[in-house]
């Protein structure tokens, strides 16, 4: 049963995910209208609390909130500890006193949304924390695959790249497994985190073996310049061994789709050609992102103070 906050896919049941996906389908329809706005969250205040710089995710949440007629406030405190005048919990308590209906939190350190949720009265929606979780990304990825393949059950998904530092990988591992898919991860050995099998996935260091018979290939962004040389030797070597192009994609099942959470480092994780053309579905992912975030805001922000569809069962 969906709780008060959306902190991670790990906390959700399959029925919760299905409920969100189903709601998102309705929200997609709103996005296809001439006037893309419904009054659902009119009078509600949603705070986008982004400690970590983010253009795409913040814009997606902002558009989602506005399409639901919520008042959306963007708040980006300096996140460096040198510039910081107050602790994250102080920031959270200050915000709480302003009585928002939901707070969307992004932070470079794992666990911050959870700690904020511990002191906040309003629901907290995790928009990505460190290498921990990015639940709305996984939900939009699942929705995209559902649309492409008509199901998740029985599919095989391979996530390729820097699993160790990826919140997208973790949320997708939980999400696709809960929905009945088999999940594999493939990466240079240092980028496969310790005991990753405990998450229920099989780890590969050969891209070719990892792609054998899969329906979905998800490439992760090589995030950080400072990983070069210490976690893998070079971008060129990464691209040669784990970068996807049409030749390597032939190891996957016919009709396999290619996903990427964006922004793509062209020629690194994906060849230019794959980044722009099918079977990659990157822009569908972005489009679904707005629908998923509308669904999440509706389901979580809409029921605070007793409103919304989960009012009776929420753990307030």
């Amino acid at each position: 049963m969906i709780g008060r906050d959306l902190l991670g896919i790990e906390d959700l049941e399959r029925e919760d995910i299905e409920k969100i996906l189903e709601t998102a389908m309705h929200m997609r329809e709103v996005g296809e209208r001439d006037v893309k706005k419904v009054p659902t969250l009119r009078g509600r205040t949603i705070v986008n609390l982004f400690f970590e710089a983010s253009t795409r995710t913040r814009a997606s949440f902002e558009i989602a909130g506005k399409r639901l007629s919520a008042d959306v406030v963007n708040f980006s405190p300096a996140s460096s500890s040198l510039k910081k005048a107050e602790s994250i919990l102080d920031t959270a308590r200050t915000l709480d006193a302003m009585d928002p209906d939901a707070v969307v939190v992004r932070h470079a350190v794992s666990g911050v949304p959870r700690r904020i949720a511990d002191v906040l009265g309003a629901p907290v929606i995790n928009a990505g924390d460190g290498a921990h979780e990015h639940p709305t990304q996984a939900l939009l990825d699942i929705l995209t695959v559902q649309q492409e393949k008509g199901r998740i059950d029985g599919l095989t998904v391979t996530i390729v790249g820097d699993i160790a530092h990826s919140r997208v990988a973790r949320s997708n591992i939980y999400g696709f497994r809960k929905m009945g898919a088999e999940v594999r991860v493939a990466a240079p050995p240092p980028m496969i985190p310790a005991d990753v099998e405990a998450l229920g996935v099989k780890a590969y260091t050969s891209l070719r073996e990892s792609l054998d018979g899969v329906d979905v290939v998800m490439a992760l962004r090589i995030q950080n310049e400072r990983l070069v040389g210490s976690w893998f030797p070079s971008v060129r070597e990464y691209s040669a061994t784990f970068g996807l192009d049409r030749a390597k994609l032939r190891y996957a099942r016919d009709g396999a789709i290619v996903m990427h959470p964006g922004p793509v480092n062209r020629g690194v994780e994906l060849s230019h050609d794959l980044a722009d053309h099918r079977p990659s579905v990157i822009l569908d992912q972005v489009r679904n992102g707005v629908a998923i975030r509308m669904a999440v805001l509706y389901l979580f922000a809409g029921r605070h103070r007793g409103g919304g569809p989960f009012a009776q069962q929420g753990a307030q």
Binding site: S81, L89, S110, V112, A194
Partner: protein, 431 residues
């Protein structure tokens, strides 16, 4: 003449291998007699009916934060926390501000302790100046001032040649060099044990090999130099194995383990509670089992708290930013009684690891109820259940993973040099 009779308890004296009912008579700060039918005329009586009477506990490893960080703890508050936990003596680490790397600083700490602390305080001096891991401190002068050991603690000496010289030179003064064995290059940014939990939380992992590599290095250097190496807060199965092998070879290597590494795993961090962030980190269930086995078979000599107070606003930061450490003086006895209840340690063996062994490692008196010893005595009720609220404790800080939990086993009375310095109902007494 001050006479104090501790009456009617279960005497647990590891030094004499004594475990029997009896009384303890203290006279003018020393133990006068132990047994039954003592001459008790004119003595003040401490009732120990149904309780254990043990030599006062000695903590090998605490951070009292004075001078420099008195908002976290000071010698007065730390000393009260100590006696509330049954510790009659506490060895305090050198990472104060300024660092205890100078005889004047050791003097200051001892002076403060005499004025403010109900527990005895044994200063551990820095092994290298300003804990920088480069130039060794004036060990002889520091010992003359009252230091009991040398350690750079959390600022692990990474330069193997500096470590070799420190160990060699320590033979001049014949005290232990206490090492926090974590290879900083392997720790990297790690903040939780590397394994399924760090993977799940997406927090940087601190691998067990950071400890095992470093224990191995220091054991080799201890063998080469013949110095007394004391390994602080062992946390890994590999570290325990390395120390066991060293002891089997007859090396002068001793070791301690903390209450948290004996009883908590990295599962505690599932909710990102920064009060579970500690160095070395809470480890896997297998590591905890190995630490317990090591303590039971004597590979690990002592239980030490690594009492590390931090203010709430510091712990309220992001998990990666919050400082390492947890307080432990007031909970150590109750928490580690778990090993007695499980049958792993006899009551006598448990007392030995909290009093006799640490006193021996520091070459201090205590850890014994023999006549003539200082009358440092702890009386505790091993079955008493209590609710632990750090806000009601004596430490200035509250960073405990046991906050809000019910604990079993409580110190009833603590006696230092024949004086009652703590009673569970009356609290800690100002010296």
């Amino acid at each position: 003449m001050s006479r104090l009779l501790i009456r009617g308890g279960r005497l647990l004296d590891p030094a004499a291998k004594r475990d029997e009912p009896g009384d303890v008579l203290c006279l003018d700060g020393r133990i006068e007699a132990v047994g039954t039918d003592l001459d008790v005329r004119g003595a003040e009586v401490v009732d120990a009916e149904g309780a254990w009477i043990t030599p006062g506990f000695v903590d090998l490893h605490a951070h009292l934060r004075e001078p420099g960080q008195e908002y976290k703890e000071d010698i007065a508050s730390g000393g009260r926390a100590a006696v509330a936990g049954g510790f009659t003596a506490v060895a305090c680490m050198a990472n104060t501000d300024p660092v205890n790397d100078d005889p004047a600083m050791t003097d200051f700490i001892l002076d403060r302790a005499r004025q403010d602390s109900p527990a005895k305080v044994y200063p551990i001096a820095a092994a290298t100046r300003r804990l920088e891991g480069q130039l060794m401190t004036e060990m002889s002068a520091l010992i003359d001032a009252g230091a009991v050991a040398f350690s750079d603690d959390g600022r692990t000496i990474m330069d193997s040649c500096v470590m070799r010289r420190v160990l060699e030179y320590s033979r001049l003064v014949n005290v232990p060099v206490i090492v926090h064995c974590e290879d900083r290059t392997l720790v990297g940014q790690g903040v939780v044990n590397e394994g399924a939990m760090s993977t799940r939380l997406g927090l940087p992992g601190n691998p067990g090999i950071a400890e095992t590599v470093h224990v191995a290095r220091d054991v080799i250097l201890a063998e080469f130099t013949g110095a007394h190496l004391h390994v602080a807060h062992v946390s890994t199965a590999g570290g325990v194995a390395s120390i066991r092998a060293a002891r089997e070879r007859g090396l002068n290597v001793t070791a301690e383990v903390t209450p948290h590494h004996l009883t908590l795993t990295d599962e505690e961090t599932a909710g990102f509670d920064t009060n579970t962030k500690v160095a070395p980190p809470l480890r896997s269930a297998q590591d905890v089992a190995a630490c317990r086995a090591g303590l039971v078979d004597g590979t690990i000599d002592a239980i030490a708290t690594d009492h590390a107070p931090h203010a709430m606003h510091e712990k309220d930061q992001e998990f990666t930013e919050a400082p390492h450490g947890m307080i432990g003086l007031e909970t150590a006895a109750a928490v580690t009684l778990d090993l007695v209840r499980s049958g792993e340690l006899s009551p006598l063996a448990w007392v030995a690891r909290l009093s006799t062994a640490p006193a021996r490692i520091l070459r201090r008196p205590g850890g014994s109820l023999a006549p003539g010893e200082p009358a440092d005595v702890t009386v505790l009720d091993p079955d008493r259940r209590w609710h632990y609220d750090p806000a009601k404790g004596y430490s200035k800080s509250r960073n405990s993973p046991w906050a809000g939990r019910d604990l079993i086993g409580r110190v009833v009375t603590t006696i230092v040099d024949g004086m009652i310095v703590y009673h569970v109902d009356r609290g800690a007494l100002v010296p």
